[in-house]
């Protein structure tokens, strides 16, 4: 009976949280169309999420591309299809690994930072301070962060893919000795600009929305304690990562993105 009760309670809590998240996203959407535009804060957030994530995204991209190129070359060589390495690397990176791994990396670096920053503002009374100054914290704090994440995610994903393709090129061409023309031609022939690239950007945008909403929601609704800050940060990384992976499957399977 206890297990059933626990399951029921958890299901109810999930529904409650989803409802609250929906209301919260509605507030962010409403704040987005109300003046002022908060352009300076938005640019600051793009810097925090985008520019400060560059090293980890570029480095991860290069290493993922290198490993992908190496493994693909080894596997395809068995069937005499080593010339298709560029195609395998390009398609898998652009359609899947680019947006998904970028979203996971940005969740760990910037999503957790956003949740921790907002949660610590809750804890130290800064959010209540804004409310007492008749300044909507959703408009002043949350909205620029959410848009900054949404804006930066596709750009970071694109950079991840570029560095991954370059990483694959470096390993396959310079280390394993594949002809550079074969690698690039295979890549060029298999990647469709409209379908593959637009799908990649769509995925990155969707993941940007998901990570931004979860990170800001977890931070904003955190308990005003040290444990609350910690729970918001951990919760953001866990929930956003799982949501990105589930959503990737849904987008790919049901909508063919």
């Amino acid at each position: 009976m206890n297990a059933i009760e626990t399951l029921g309670f958890r299901t109810l809590m999930l529904v409650v949280h989803l409802g609250r998240l929906g209301v919260f996203v509605g507030r962010v959407a409403r704040a987005s169309v109300l003046p002022p535009t908060r352009l300076r804060r938005f640019v600051g957030e793009v810097f925090d999420v985008g520019v400060l994530s560059l090293p980890i995204v570029c480095l991860s991209g290069a290493t993922v591309g290198a490993v992908l190129g190496f493994q693909s070359y080894v596997a395809l060589s068995r069937f005499g299809a080593a010339g298709s390495v560029g195609s395998v690397v390009g398609i898998s990176l652009i359609r899947e690994f680019g947006p998904v791994l970028t979203a996971l990396l940005v969740t760990g670096r910037a999503g957790s930072a956003i949740a921790a920053e907002i949660a610590s503002m809750v804890q130290t009374g800064q959010i209540d301070g804004l409310r007492m100054m008749s300044i909507d914290p959703v408009h002043f704090v949350v909205m620029p962060k959410a848009w900054g994440m949404l804006f930066a995610m596709p750009l970071l994903s694109a950079l991840f893919i570029v560095f991954a393709i370059a990483g694959g090129y470096a390993v396959v061409v310079h280390l394993l000795g594949l002809d550079p023309g074969t690698y690039l031609t295979s890549l060029e022939d298999s990647v469709n600009l409209h379908e593959d690239v637009s799908q990649s950007v769509t995925k990155a945008l969707v993941f940007g929305v998901v990570v931004a909403c979860i990170a800001t929601y977890r931070g904003y609704t955190s308990e005003p304690t040290s444990a609350g800050v910690s729970a918001a940060t951990t919760g953001t990384v866990v929930v956003a990562s799982v949501a990105v992976l589930l959503l990737d499957y849904v987008l790919t399977s049901f909508w063919g993105i």
């Binding site: 503002m121 130290t124 009374g125 800064q126 209540d128 301070g129 804004l130 409310r131 007492m132 100054m133 008749s134 300044i135 909507d136």
Partner: protein, 279 residues
């Protein structure tokens, strides 16, 4: 003084802020059990009470940051417990609040913190804002910290900078949550003088929560004492002469801690109560 303390005094008079039958529970703890009291216009009211008595919660109810389970909270004629958040902003423009930790935005300099309400709610030019911020920072004795971030300030300096921010929009009401806690005597005196000066000069309704008995008695026009989820209110003299055992015990403990450090090693029973008529 011949007056007598009133328990949950009926709401008659020129109250700027009025609590009427307020009940509030936080978790399983019942903080207020039918609290009724008022805060007079242009007067300094100090809210006293032990830890967990609900002093900070009282200020949060006035600011609409908390909502009561029952009863009403009227601020300048508006029933804030019924207003949605958007409409509360209109009421809060008439209120300045000094939070216990200052609540300065740590991503902004002191100047930007104090300038924030002006930039958000007025059409003043940057030059006018700079002039007003400079004037307010000078008034709280911090003319040279405008370019510093809150993390570079001491507790007392943070509190004074937050005070400058809370009054920069010329509010009618200023709420101060434990402005003296954790400060050295010099800073206590300094902030106390600032609050009294501000209140008298600008005709503010000032509500201060405090544990600090000496400064409370010096600055208060009226005292609201929170006990068992209800309010006992009166003048400082009435408080000192109260025969109520709970008030006597509170005054004795606070006065002992503040005034008589040489007796810290004495037995509690040997400590005298504050004020001549308290016992």
């Amino acid at each position: 003084m011949g007056g007598q303390l009133a328990l949950d005094r009926p709401l008659a008079g020129d109250f700027h802020i009025a609590f009427d039958g307020v009940r509030l529970s936080l978790g399983r703890r019942e903080v207020f059990r039918g609290l009724s009291c008022g805060f007079l216009r242009r007067q300094i009211t100090v809210v006293l009470g032990g830890s967990g008595a609900g002093k900070s919660t009282m200020l949060r109810l006035i600011g609409g940051l908390e909502r009561p389970d029952a009863g009403s909270v009227r601020v300048a004629g508006e029933e804030v417990n019924l207003l949605p958040e958007r409409q509360l902003f209109r009421v809060r423009e008439r209120i300045g609040m000094l939070f216990q930790g200052g609540a300065l935005l740590d991503s902004m300099t002191v100047f930007d913190n104090v300038a924030l309400p002006l930039r958000e709610h007025t059409r003043l030019s940057e030059a006018e804002i700079a002039e007003r911020v400079g004037r307010n920072l000078a008034a709280v004795g911090l003319p040279d910290v405008a370019d510093l971030f809150p993390r570079h300030l001491s507790g007392g300096m943070s509190r004074r900078a937050a005070l400058a921010r809370s009054v920069v929009m010329n509010p009618e009401i200023v709420l101060c949550d434990e402005p003296f806690s954790g400060l050295d005597p010099l800073n206590v005196r300094r902030i106390e003088a600032l609050l009294v000066d501000l209140s008298r000069r600008a005709g503010l309704t000032l509500v201060v929560t405090s544990h600090h008995l000496a400064s409370s008695l010096r600055m208060a026009d009226r005292i609201v004492f929170l006990v068992d989820g209800r309010a006992v209110s009166g003048s400082p003299e009435e408080l000192l002469q109260s025969p109520d055992r709970r008030i006597v015990d509170f005054l004795a403990a606070e006065s002992q801690a503040e005034f008589d450090p040489s007796r810290l090693g004495d037995e509690p029973s040997s400590r005298p109560a504050a004020g001549g008529g308290a016992s």
